[in-house]
Symmetry: C2
Subunit: 515 residues, 2 copies
């Protein structure tokens, strides 16, 4: 985090001073979201929603490529569906929005109240996930082995009543996708669980430029009822972990509860093995806390609603016309180029207002490349450009570079791809520098995490305790406000002992404070 | 509607026998949607949702092209927002889903009930539209003339409690887009209202191949509180009208209620003029009733999730491998072509099952081109193809044509474009043939619409009565189960008298029974 005293940053709060406050300022100043007046629900503004649309578009293409088909299931779920689940699933969460009436009526005092005549016989729940209704649909749709695998996905809004909310990270209503699949056997279902996990891992790395560790969650962090839960875990700039996506192998338990059975090739009935996997608008929170700096957001080009913004330095004089014509021609040339496998997204910002004011608005939004074009540039066939990820010079000036327009256009794709790579490289170097190894006792762990700050993650050996032994570990960690994040996939068995039990370690885990 | 006795159609119900039942069968057999177990809410299955995704994608590009930005607003709206509206707006609908609790609790008998401790202080309404919250946001976002026009759009689910529901046409929950814009003056707002209307008109015609009449609704059919409401009206095959999209000029009334004010260039405060416009999953119902036939759905290529399906005639023999390789090569060649401005969407259907069974499944889904490839075709470099819109020969055989593979690939784009054009042409000819002119008395109108069937629309003169005179007309029409659809835009003032008042006609209207 830059400390150059020459630089006057665009935000009033620095990451180093108050990370939570800084996070709110980034969101407000970038025009990404705001409070809605409805408890725990946000308004997602164009720049925030544009990033979500980009995430959806790229992720959806990868989901479809895997043969998964999108459906849409109802917003409301009858209460009785949950009664069954609550019985079977320990840890079932009951904080949900409950619909009890279907009509309003005047209260005789100029206001409205729920009409007592229009009380529902059975309350409806606003879906916290569509797990139960999708299970019921799968039971209808699967008859024989020929129907398997059944691969479905839904993009939707869901609601979980949250007491403490934070924009993008934890809101009562959020947007997500939930994949649900049914398979003939364990091997096929586990393969799908890991395919989804790998899809999330590569999406986070390649598209969000956000380094993640893909691995299995410990038993105590499993999705209630799952046989195995996998996650991708990202490190935020304050050293905390963010669970950015999960994939669950559910065994046959959910299929049994929902009645998802098939006739196999031999003619006998068998239970399906099911999976589920999801990511949400939480990813946007991860992008902010991975790439944002003291000047606002920095958006990786792959998900930037605009990758290049052109700011003409208008002066309200007759020369503006020629300047605008030059900029429009430049825009067309850039829009004709492709970067990261797509046409370059470029905006010519002709709105009224001073160019410098507009520049800072775009800096705070984090657009990867900003061009400022004055009359002299237009006359000389030049452009003046700054990369958002290299905003400042040592002397505290904004790092604009002049170059021939043709050179800029010829190099714009390479430049955007370099921004994408650089953001990932920067985040990866920071993450790796903030993972500590060699802590071998609970006392040393407590000492490392002492104080208000969470300097990063601890990587240590794990003997995979279960039952009461695990509960004890979890309780000790909880007292330190720490959690076990996951066991990275594909790592060799570590040397040495488990930090918590002293028994020989069988795998590696990450310990961190988490969002 | 074909009456050839040689033909054995794929559906059990014919349009001519029971249109409503036929509609349900198309949806079920095409795998578009099904009942969800939640009153009035449907499950949209992959083929139905795929069509919606196509509609969204093409419409969204047109919305963005017009400079409108997407946002996302909360699902829940505090009750108090509606109390204000109910006071100001006559005809305010009160059938809404009301959330009163935020937690469930065990009832001690193994069931769950809303937790009385978790009753909300103020009930929340599941949005029937986001009009009120968007208005509140606009009031925050608009300060000066520089912020105008403010052009926003939302893609979302909304809920209106419906007593009688029909899939896609009228469901309690449905998916839609709602555009909301704020402008400095009347002229700009009216221009935006008409731009959205024209966007809908051309979308319906070019993309859905669904002929529509774009016009202004009569006063009694205006959106409550609007100054003017415009619609696109399509004729279904049973002669009824479907309102397929609306665009409203709201004047300054909504801006006043929400406090959307701006400082003009002279420094004084002024109210904005606002608009709103929307289309929904109802469009899919329109597509079914415009293009479906007695063999199921026919999807216009522009919105078909798959435009070409290849069915290899597998025999479970070693020759299958060569056949599949041939089909895969064919698929690749077709996928490399572009039609209607996009890459051709082609599927090689390798699932187990007999090719004829699979053929009829695709016929009922309405995929524009179906290829059946046998071993002999593969050996001879041939394909066998049928157009869904020209399915039958006179002799009752399916209208397959053999041709060289290279010729098919070279012509696939032209063929798809011809299907798109043909479907539109067929629907247009039918619509125009079912519009009757020259009816000049209420008695003749009643006689024309006598009986159970609605042969089409009546075009007649209209003197634009208001107040009690209009109420009287509406009541008379209601007794005949008829409504005024709209006044087409851009038509010359008609000759003659108003059918209802006898006064000189000032405009043309369409009278029809409607969905």
């Amino acid at each position: 985090m830059s400390q150059n005293p020459n630089i006057r940053h665009a935000l009033t709060v620095k990451r180093a001073d108050d990370f939570a406050q800084w996070y709110q300022e980034v969101i407000a100043e970038a025009g990404m979201a705001e409070e809605s007046g409805v408890r725990g629900c946000m308004v997602i503004k164009p720049w925030g929603y544009g990033i979500w649309e980009r995430i959806q578009q790229v992720m959806d293409a990868r989901i479809k490529e895997a043969g998964v088909e999108n459906c849409y299931f109802p917003l409301f779920i009858p209460l009785s569906y949950f009664a069954k689940e609550a019985e079977h699933v320990e840890g079932f969460a009951k904080e949900m929005a409950v619909v009890t009436h279907h009509r309003l009526i005047g209260d005789g005092k100029g206001g409205l109240v729920p009409d007592p005549e229009a009380k529902l016989e059975e309350p409806l729940i606003v879906r916290p996930t569509s797990e139960t209704v999708i299970g019921a649909a799968m039971a209808r749709w699967v008859q024989s082995w020929r129907d398997l695998p059944l691969l479905t996905n839904q993009w939707a809004n869901v609601v979980r009543w949250e007491m403490r909310t934070r924009m993008f990270l934890r809101t009562s209503e959020f947007l997500w996708q939930e994949g649900h699949t049914a398979h003939a056997d364990r091997a096929d279902a586990v393969a799908e669980t890991l395919r989804a996990l790998e899809m999330y891992r590569s999406f986070a790395e390649d598209v969000l430029a956000m380094p993640v560790i893909a691995g299995e969650k410990p038993e105590n962090e499993r999705f209630p009822g799952a046989v195995a839960t996998y996650s991708i875990e990202a490190m935020m700039q304050d050293g905390k972990a963010l669970q950015a996506g999960t994939s669950h192998y559910l065994g046959t338990g959910f299929a049994e509860a929902a009645g998802i059975r098939y006739q196999d090739k031999e003619g006998s009935q068998a239970l399906c093995h099911t999976t589920s996997w999801g990511v949400s608008t939480r990813l946007i929170g991860g992008v902010i806390m991975t790439h944002g700096d003291d000047d606002g957001l920095r958006v990786p080009p792959a998900i930037a609603p605009q990758q290049v913004v052109i700011l003409p330095m208008l002066r309200d004089t007759p020369e503006d016309e020629a300047l605008l014509a030059y900029c429009e021609e430049l825009r067309r040339e850039i829009a004709g180029k492709s970067a990261l496998g797509e046409k370059v997204r470029v905006l010519l910002d002709k709105r009224p207002g001073k160019a410098t004011q507009k520049r800072w608005a775009w800096v705070k939004k984090g657009v990867p490349l900003i061009l400022e074009i004055g009359g002299r540039d237009a006359a000389g066939g030049q452009v003046s450009v700054v990369r958002r990820d290299r905003l400042w010079r040592e002397d505290g000036k904004v790092n604009f570079t002049g170059m021939a327009r043709a050179d800029f256009v010829a190099g714009v794709a390479a430049e955007l791809e370099d921004v994408q790579r650089s953001l990932h490289g920067e985040a990866l170097a920071r993450r790796d520098a903030q993972i500590v190894r060699g802590i071998t006792s609970l006392e040393a762990l407590a000492a490392y995490f002492e104080g208000e700050k969470y300097p990063g993650w601890v990587e240590c050996g794990w003997s995979r305790p279960g039952g009461a032994a695990l509960d004890e570990v979890v309780a000790k960690l909880k007292a330190l406000k720490l959690t076990i994040r996951n066991t990275p996939l594909g790592e060799a068995k570590p040397e040495g002992a488990c930090l918590f039990t002293g028994a020989p370690a069988v795998e590696t885990i990450y310990v961190a404070r988490a969002y």
